[in-house]
């Protein structure tokens, strides 16, 4: 049910934590004329009393709230009459009533009404229960708002105070574990990074900020304190946003001034960060011992005597005596370097400060805010900073005409030491496992001289801005929304909005040359290594200018005719983007001059990308007595991606609700007193998705494809394009959702449960029945052929209330299961194995295949007796401790035919997520505890986490420690000692233990994480009022304090996506903060 309420008045405060959960019974919301108070809807009257009886008695008493404080202004009415009174300032009342059968009704806005039969007792003590307000709550939905009671879609919502509970840098991170159906994974948590958020695992959602469709980056970098609410449209209710909304919509509303005098708020925090966990490299002894064992193991495999192993740094043969010296590590030259400690600093700060002022008079409301966030990296010289400005103004020019604006400004700075080659955050992590613990970062440990190590590129001594240079990746954006709205007297309002967003990204990189040195102990000199260090200077500037323009005209109509509520919305909306990108690269002649000169330029890149989309939106909603709710919506959507004659498509949706608890049979029954709210919801809708590349409808020729040098001159290539794609059209996303919302005991216990399915039809695929010979030289174009669905269920439950001792509590739990199922059929198979292995027909998506490990060889005898060719080489490369694979098809040899499904989705969001949110308040203290967890996700160990001495480096300590080995690395007849990992062999990436994707190395990730613990104290008001403050809150807070995970044994955070583990793990943040209001 769509209501055009005076939303700014009703939108006051939202007091809920777990969004779509909490509501209960008792009250409906009147959606009548603006300004009328919500009447108590105790609709069943019994017309019974006979007022003719003249005898009267005087009743008096007190009305208090649950804490025992007197409530002034409570209506006290003799039931069935208009006779009554109100309570005074102390909550006292006095009333004359007939002496028999009189029933008094106590009612007060915000409290549940109470009826009390008058007895002879002289003084009544009435305690009114605060009413559950969640049903009155205004929920932001597509192009408008609705009251919670009448929402028929699957919509989750989170309010400001819950959002800022975790001190997140990016808004997506703040959403984790807050709303059922929303899954998250922070695969790389470097400073400034966001979290991959998906709604029901359907893919990246659409973000809509104050009504304007926006990119994820804009959402991530909003000032967290400037957000009033976030709504999540999970089902067909998202369809109103059209083609980009197929994966659901996240709606953001920023704060507005509230009626009253100016309120100034200053808040901030200071925290220290550490990694949740990250593996430590082997120490020098483990490393050297590993080298010796590796040779011993190879010698056994190759049936020869072990050769002496030289220390690759000194050249000395690693004899037993030498190894012992490394174990002791006390003699000069036998020091073990810990590159974990060298690369990562502990306890680095993250801090934040925000100030805002807001307020509103009758004609003007304002909200002005500025904030600053600074997050240092655990790697020196790397950091993220952000400034945010937000100004929201609205003026009432006439009683019916309003104009307003939202202005967003932000500047983000990502600064890193300019490590040559790859990503600046990758190399430091690589260093930890690439450096040998036996080599020094500095020549002779003298920090003036970078040691020319075996691979100086990963020597962390160079990761300093003063040595290696810098990269600055800066984003600046200014966005302006302007709107005007006119409200006609008969219920129609017209709103026009224009938005212009200008974003620039400048990347400024300057990577210096530097030298590497070796210490000559005899001459006691530091010798410059010719060609060492880095002699490859690099200077690059990139500029991106992105313009996003949106125009919207919106008509809204609301009418309540008796029991019939009607509302309608019509929108025309269009938006386009213009994205220009340039790169200029030079080879700088020195390390000091940052200005680029044409003479040094060797590269230029230029790109223009435009997009344009438009849509006509219509929605009609009807309700009868707020009991039967139905809503239909449609969108006629157009995209620049398609040919002129097929640009538009029509996509409808319908949602409906039935509030069973409004039925008298339930209301008046005993059940109705317990089950105070029960709503059944259902929705079905279609959205289009324009998943096609730009200009595929054009044939023609691509300019700039390939090139040749003809007779010394460069000639840019021109390449014929493939067949023009004319018939590939929209992917149709059909979303079905069935849900139930319920509240017990007036909302004390509230819950929601949904079953959903999003079926995508018409995913691009080739016609399996028409196969063109490869000799035609082009592919038949893709058609709308394949389909899949994402389905699952989600639910949540909250229990909240106040104990008699004044303890307020709220405990909420929710969980989501969402998984893709492939239905597609456009495939051809060469044989039945091909079908079994590669089919996408009617099976769960993202199944990981691999070998099944059934144990490890325990002895050489067992290897000799093993009848199955485990390594493809007659088991001659096998040693005790090696992984035994299951010969699933029983052919006596392990090969690809033995692969079976062994895992779930890898790298994506987990299929199961759950969370527990607890909030306790007592007196001036609040304690919040949030726990998140996930399951059905797979992590595969590769490279550094898998292969000993990967890439001529070292390994995590557990790989070189907890391994199968002989008791004496110099005695080939000494007994085997079991361990967790196979016997060490360096350069063995192709060995059967490592080159087969097996469930020895693949883990199903399950974890439970104490996401957030916060203890806050509100300074008592009497103290504050003396100094003119209206509120002061101080808190301590910890994020990611404890994690229980199936990856704990390898010290890998369960959210990391990088399979070699070389990703920036999430941080454990210990934090203290304040908020002052005056």
């Amino acid at each position: 049910m769509k209501s055009k309420l005076p939303d700014r008045k009703l939108r006051r405060s939202f007091q809920h934590s777990l969004v779509p959960l909490a509501w209960c019974a008792s009250v409906g919301v009147a959606l009548g004329a603006p300004g009328s108070p919500a009447p108590v809807a105790n609709a069943s009257f019994s017309v019974s009393t006979n007022p003719a009886e003249p005898t009267e008695i005087t009743v008096q008493g007190t009305v208090t709230d649950s804490k025992g404080e007197g409530l002034p202004g409570v209506n006290v009415i003799l039931k069935g009459t208009s006779k009554g009174s109100t309570t005074d300032a102390q909550g006292r009342f006095r009333l004359k009533v007939p002496d028999q059968g009189a029933v008094l009704v106590f009612s007060f806005v915000g409290f549940t009404s109470q009826e009390v039969a008058v007895t002879n007792s002289e003084s009544l003590a009435i305690k009114l229960e605060a009413q559950d307000k969640s049903l009155e709550e205004v929920v932001v939905v597509g192009y408008g708002t609705q009251s919670r009671a009448t929402v028929t879609g699957a919509v989750g919502q989170i309010a400001s105070q819950d959002l800022v509970r975790t001190p997140a840098v990016a808004a997506t991170t703040a959403l984790v574990g807050r709303i059922p159906g929303v899954t998250g994974r922070q695969g790389d948590a470097r400073p400034g990074a966001g979290t991959s958020i998906q709604i029901r695992n359907m893919g990246t959602p659409l973000y809509v900020i104050d009504g304007i469709q926006s990119e994820e980056g804009q959402f991530n970098n909003l000032g967290l304190n400037d957000i009033e609410t976030i709504s999540v449209l999970k089902d067909a209710s998202a369809a109103i946003y059209g083609m980009r909304a197929a994966n659901g919509v996240i709606l953001v509303t920023t704060k507005r001034g509230k009626l009253g005098k100016p309120v100034v708020n200053v808040n901030g925090y200071y925290g220290i960060q550490n990694f949740t966990q990250y593996p430590h490299p082997a120490n020098a002894y483990q490393h050297q011992r590993g080298l010796v064992e590796s040779e011993q193991n190879y010698a056994q495999i190759e049936r020869r005597a072990a050769r002496p192993v030289s220390d690759p740094v000194s050249g000395k043969v690693l004899t037993a005596d030498e190894l012992e010296k490394w174990r002791q590590g006390t003699e000069p030259g036998y020091k073990s370097y810990d590159y974990y400690d060298m690369v990562f600093r502990p306890n680095v700060p993250q801090y934040y400060l925000n100030g805002n002022i807001s307020g509103a008079s009758d004609n003007l409301s304002y909200y002005l805010s500025g904030s600053y966030l600074d997050q240092k990296a655990l790697i020196e010289d790397n950091f993220f900073k952000r400034y945010n400005l937000q100004a929201n103004l609205e003026a009432k020019l006439t009683p019916r005409l309003r104009i307003g604006t939202q202005i967003y400004g932000r500047a983000e700075f990502r600064h890193t030491a300019g490590v040559p080659g790859l990503d600046d955050y990758f190399n430091p992590f690589l260093s930890v496992f690439s450096m040998w613990p036996t080599e020094a970062p500095y020549a002779n440990d003298n920090p003036l001289y970078v040691n020319q190590t075996h691979n100086i590129n990963v020597n962390p001594a160079t990761y300093k801005e003063s040595i290696t240079g810098y990269n600055d990746d800066d984003w600046r954006a200014g966005k302006l929304n302007i709107y005007g709205q006119y409200d006609f007297a008969f219920g129609l309002s017209v709103k026009a909005t224009g938005s212009y967003n200008y974003t620039t990204n400048t990347f400024n990189g300057f990577e210096y040359t530097y030298n590497g040195y070796r210490y000559n102990p005899t001459a006691q000199t530091y010798d410059l290594v010719a060609g060492g260090g880095n002699q490859n200077p690099w200077r690059e500037q990139r500029r991106r200018a992105l313009i996003e323009r949106t125009g919207q005209i919106q008509l809204n109509y609301n009418k309540q005719l008796g029991d019939h509520g009607l509302s309608a919305t019509a929108v025309y909306e269009r938006y386009d983007t213009d994205n220009r990108y340039n790169i200029v690269h030079t080879v700088p002649p020195n390390n000091t001059i940052p200005i680029q000169y044409f003479a040094n330029q060797d590269y230029l890149f230029d790109e223009v990308v435009e997009t344009a989309r438009a849509g006509y939106v219509g929605r009609v909603a009807y309700n009868y007595k707020q009991k039967y709710l139905i809503e239909g919506l449609g969108r006629y959507d157009g995209s620049y991606l398609y040919r002129a004659d097929s640009r538009f498509g029509f996509f409808p949706a319908v949602t409906a609700g039935y509030r069973v608890s409004e039925e008298n049979f339930l209301k008046n029954s005993g059940v109705g007193r317990v089950l105070t709210e029960l709503k059944l919801r259902g929705s079905y809708g279609v959205t289009g998705a324009d998943a096609i590349n730009p200009y595929e409808y054009l044939q023609g020729y691509n300019f700039g494809s390939g090139a040749s040098i003809f007779n010394g001159s460069y000639v840019i290539g021109v390449r014929p394009r493939g067949l023009p794609i004319t018939t590939l059209s929209w992917v149709r996303n059909k979303t079905t959702n069935v849900g139930v919302d319920f509240g017990l005991f007036g909302g004390k216990l509230a819950g929601t449960f949904d079953i959903f399915r999003r079926r995508r039809e018409g995913l691009a695929g080739l016609d399996p029945n028409t196969v063109l010979p490869r000799e035609v030289g082009y592919d038949l174009y893709r058609e709308n052929r394949n389909s899949d669905e994402t389905k699952g269920l989600e639910g949540g439950l909250t229990y909240s209330g106040v104990t008699s001792k004044g303890l307020t509590f709220s405990v909420g739990a929710h969980a989501t299961l969402a998984r893709r199922f492939d239905l597609g059929y456009s495939q051809t198979f060469s044989n039945s194995w091909d079908r079994y292995r590669n089919s996408y027909y009617s099976r769960w998506g993202d199944v990981g295949w691999g070998y099944q490990a059934v144990g490890q060889f325990q002895s050489e005898q067992q290897i000799a007796d093993h009848k199955i060719d485990n390594d493809g080489q007659g088991n001659r490369t096998q040693l005790p401790g090696d992984i035994i694979y299951k010969d699933v098809n029983g052919d006596g040899v392990i090969n690809y035919l033995d692969e079976r499904p062994i895992g779930y989705i890898q790298g994506g969001n987990p299929l199961v997520t759950y969370a527990l949110n607890t909030s306790l308040g007592y007196k001036n203290f609040t304690l919040n505890v949030d726990i998140v967890g996930a399951g059905m996700q797979t992590y595969q160990r590769e490279y550094e986490l898998l292969i000993p001495f990967q890439n001529n480096g070292t390994s995590p300590n557990y790989i070189l420690e907890d391994r199968w080995h002989r008791a004496d690395p110099y005695n080939p007849d000494s007994p085997w000692v079991p361990g967790k990992y196979p016997a060490i062999r360096r350069d063995a990436g192709g060995q059967a233990n490592y080159n087969r994707r097996s469930d020895f190395w693949i883990k199903t990730v399950r974890y439970i994480r104490l996401r957030n613990v916060e203890l806050a104290y509100n300074l008592p008001k009497p103290w504050l009022s003396k100094v003119g403050f209206s509120g002061v809150r101080v808190y301590v807070n910890a994020t990611n304090l404890v994690t229980f995970s199936t990856l704990n044994d390898i010290n890998i955070d369960p959210e990391i996506t990088s399979t070699n583990g070389l990703g920036y793990p999430p941080q454990r943040l210990i934090n203290t903060g304040f908020s002052v209001t005056f």
Partner: protein, 624 residues
């Protein structure tokens, strides 16, 4: 009312603001880099761009700009970079070398047809020249397909599907292997007169066409002869694979004739640096200006950001100019020993005395390489040589004499390490291990004792990622044509001519005039191996001679199939005459554990299920 009017005006203006930004069609956007037919076919500049794209797409197997890791898959080099790559290859897969690239053939056919129908402003001479060049490229493509698969479907017009669900008109059967080679020959003969591009080494002219024909015909001829002579007789009943032995001579003759036609052209063997035959050979391939030997090359140009990473990845470690890369390909001892001594003796390096009881002690690191075929120097950086004016330090370690045991102890250190200091208190503080290794197992340093010189750019900074290299890739040069001619003449019994051709090539390499007086195929095979090393001939040559399965037979006791390395050491034997001299260890590569294994099915790449499923007329290859 007046105020009301103003508000209406305001809101009206807002609506208008939206409405007026309407263009003709809001959703119609112009692509920034797509050219339409009307523009292309009447603009010779853009048509040259079309050629630029087609030339760029010509398939290659192993070149300096793509797929160069495969150099280490054959017996010229091993892999010394990160990972183990080709060193761990147990067999060559049945799909190896496959490249069923009909996309380029379609694009060429499209151009041939559209230039006739859509080029209205071009003169017929212009059209003819473009068409000749398109046909040259197509002939080139069919030769590339033929040498991989044997006979393939000869598609010479666009196959256009009309969406009626019937694909049979599009199905073309495989031609015979002979037909493919005959098509290549006849096309090249037909267009050589109209190609133009006289004097160009980057766009096809008549001599380039004849060079291609010369090579193609030699392939056809040797397949015809040796498929039968080897007894393998790999063939299909329809002749899609296999060329009758009876056709050998006519193909040899065609090859010889084409070679002679090239020899009438403006080419000569490069001899710009006659005083240094080794440098001269290096320049013969890398030098771009005033190089009369080059017939056809794919060129690069750093100034236009058209360049490659070959020098970055393969420069000798000790003189690299970047902190990453280098050394990925190490030439192996097998190749090095294929280079003869200039006195005509076999190229086997002498490292031990005749009895095999002791080393031969050399005064210099380059001692064993004295008086070698100068092409070795031009191809390989061996111990004791320089590159870019810098020493490439190749010393694996020292051999420390142990008088008590009457033997040497081998000591190897880190790169550029000194035999002395804390680690070796009794050392002599001289070089232990060179800055360029070799080292047995470390990546990014030679694991074989050699580095590549051929193709490595000698320009400053070219081995850094910032600058990179623009050495060109030579597709045809005169030396190959001479060797082709020599082989064809030899097979045709014209031995005197054959000797003349091959001796010209050898003379440039430093051999005396008429250094060969007798000739057989084995001799020529070795000549091609050393002259054309790393120029993408070795694999194809061994295949067409039908000896690949013998040379690379997968047997770890076969010295051809296994990679050998040469590690130089400095002798530490104070008080002895041997002290400070150099000795050399030959050994099987520690990092290359798997013998090369070429199986019979590798002679013709498998067609594959996908291709055959799509076109049932395509028959399987032998063994498939």
């Amino acid at each position: 009312m007046k105020f009301h009017f103003k508000t209406l005006t305001l809101s009206g203006a807002l609506l208008l603001g939206l409405a007026t930004s309407c263009q003709k069609d809001f959703l119609e956007r112009t692509p920034p880099s797509i050219i339409l037919d009307a523009q292309l076919w009447n603009d010779t500049g853009l048509l040259t761009g079309l050629l630029a794209n087609y030339y760029d797409r010509l398939p290659t197997h192993t070149t300096i700009y793509s797929n160069w890791a495969e150099y280490a898959a054959y017996d010229e080099a091993m892999w010394s970079g990160n990972g183990n790559g080709p060193n761990d290859r147990f067999t060559y897969g049945s799909g190896s070398w496959g490249n069923w690239d009909y996309g380029l053939i379609r694009d060429i056919n499209l151009a041939l047809e559209n230039i006739d129908t859509q080029s209205t402003s071009l003169t017929s001479a212009q059209k003819d020249q473009f068409k000749a060049e398109f046909r040259f490229l197509r002939a080139c493509m069919y030769f590339e397909l033929g040498k991989r698969y044997g006979g393939v479907p000869l598609v010479t017009t666009q196959l256009i599907y009309n969406f009626d669900g019937n694909v049979t008109p599009l199905q073309v059967a495989r031609s015979k292997e002979t037909e493919v080679y005959d098509f290549v020959a006849s096309e090249l003969d037909a267009i050589k007169g109209t190609l133009g591009n006289s004097g160009s080494v980057t766009r096809a002219n008549r001599y380039i066409a004849m060079a291609l024909k010369c090579r193609a015909m030699l392939y056809a001829a040797s397949i015809a002869k040796y498929n039968a002579q080897s007894g393998l007789n790999i063939s299909t009943t329809g002749g899609e694979v296999g060329i009758p032995a009876s056709l050998a001579n006519s193909y040899y003759q065609k090859s010889l004739d084409a070679a002679k036609e090239v020899l009438t052209g403006p080419y000569s063997l490069y001899n710009g640096n006659p005083s240094n035959k080794g440098e001269n050979f290096y320049e013969a391939i890398t030098r771009k200006n005033a190089n009369p030997e080059i017939i056809w090359a794919k060129d690069f140009l750093t100034a236009k950001d058209y360049r490659h990473y070959f020098a970055y990845d393969n420069i000798a470690r000790g003189i690299r100019e970047d902190n990453l890369g280098s050394s990925a390909l190490s030439p192996i001892l097998n190749l090095v020993e294929a280079y003869e001594y200039l006195d005509g003796t076999a190229g086997t390096l002498k490292t031990q005395n005749a009895a095999g009881t002791d080393y031969i002690y050399y005064d210099n690191l380059n001692g064993p390489f004295a008086n070698k075929d100068a092409r070795l120097y031009g191809t390989v950086i061996y111990p004791g040589t320089t590159f870019k004016g810098q020493d490439v330090q190749l010393q694996a370690g020292v051999k420390l004499w142990n008088a008590a045991s009457n033997s040497y102890q081998t000591i190897e250190g880190g790169l550029a390490s000194v035999y002395g200091g804390a680690a070796f208190p009794n050392g002599d503080n001289k070089l232990l291990t060179g800055s360029s290794g070799p080292q047995a197992n470390q990546p990014e340093v030679s694991n074989s004792g050699f580095y590549l010189r051929k193709f490595i750019d000698s320009g400053a900074g070219t081995s850094s990622r910032g600058i990179r290299s623009d050495t060109w890739w030579v597709r045809f040069r005169l030396a190959e044509i001479l060797l082709n001619a020599s082989e064809a003449a030899l097979e045709l019994g014209q031995t005197a001519d054959a000797l003349t051709y091959v001796n010209r090539v050898r003379e440039r390499a430093g051999f005396p005039a008429n250094s060969l007086t007798t000739l057989n195929l084995a001799r020529l095979q070795n000549e091609r191996r050393v002259e054309l090393a790393f120029e993408d001939h070795r694999l194809w040559d061994l295949k067409r001679w039908r000896i690949a399965h013998q040379v690379w037979n997968g047997n770890s006791s076969n010295p051809d199939a296994v990679a050998y390395v040469l590690f130089p050491y400095r002798v530490v034997r104070p008080g002895s005459a041997m002290d400070g001299k150099y000795v050399f260890d030959k050994r099987v590569s520690p990092r290359y554990r798997t013998p090369r294994n070429f199986q019979l099915f590798n002679y013709y790449t498998f067609i594959g299920n996908d291709i055959r499923n799509r076109n049932p007329l395509v028959v399987r290859n032998p063994f498939e």
